[in-house]
Amino acid sequence: MNGGAMFYGAAIALIIGGIMIAATKRNLIKIIIGLNIMETGVNLLLITTGYISGGTAPIMNKTWTKVVDPIPQALVLTAIVIGVAVTAMALSIVVRIYEKNNSLDIRKIKEMRW
């Protein structure tokens, strides 16, 4: 056992949990929270893919021997920023929907059929 199961397990649990929240909940803010959790899971999955046992952070100094993969880290940096952009975007639509319908429940919003 080298700890990989823990990280992969956490990532998978977050992805599935996030999608379940997004799929089963009726409240728009809950759905967006679910999407957020799912994104965190995907990011964790990417970082775990790039880990190398015994590696150090990819910041170079004289004594480094083994370094973890920097590419997934760069990708996740981008993905995190994109995630917050999508969240902000979604919430601004939600604020508008609340203003129009006075409710966050997708069942109460007229015409909102899935």
């Binding site: 910041i59 760069a74 920023v81 902000a88």
Partner: protein
Amino acid sequence: MIKKVLIILLFVLLGLSLYSVVKYNTFGEDKTVVARHYIDYGMKETGSQNIVTAVVVLYRGFDTLGEVTVLFLAATALGALLHGLRFKSKEKEPSSLIVSTAARYIFPLIILFGTYVFVHGHLTPGGGFPGGVIIASAFLLLFLAYTQKEVSEKTLSLTEGTAGILYVITGLLGLVMLNSFLANFLPKGIPGKLLSAGIIPLIYILIGFKVGAEMTGVLRNLKEEEK
């Protein structure tokens, strides 16, 4: 009905994919080709001590330009969607004296810290995005402490516009001088020094300003309710 079938399908797919991730992407093993190159030659080629920064700003700098664009888009879209929103005004409570006094002293410190984070992006972990967000959080504190405090839209718009245009111009200079967009046209210097790594600190400073302005704008737009 369709939705339920879809969800089940989605889970089957996800289960399969996660199973194959765990089974075939074994944990903790070196499986990279491109990354090898970055690790072995990254510091020499870019002059940045932090390889992640080198990847983010140079090797995959085009992604980062896109990332900045995504944030800009979100800020613009948020402004557009909340444009003209009027809510029933709630009671405006002035915050307590402790909060406002603390905010006055902490605000410059947070700004300083944010600046430090994005200026040292090529040496230490951090960089433009967290740096900019830290600066935005200083303004969040300000908004919380002084409910009537305003940052003018003009200043924010000017900062993000200028920083964005300068970023594009930096990229185009690389295209003109080295025939490749976002190429490093400045001397690389000695890795580990503050003034090194060519355009990396320059770009991170621009990103820091831009992200700071955009995120402050987002918070400001969301805060604007009672008027």
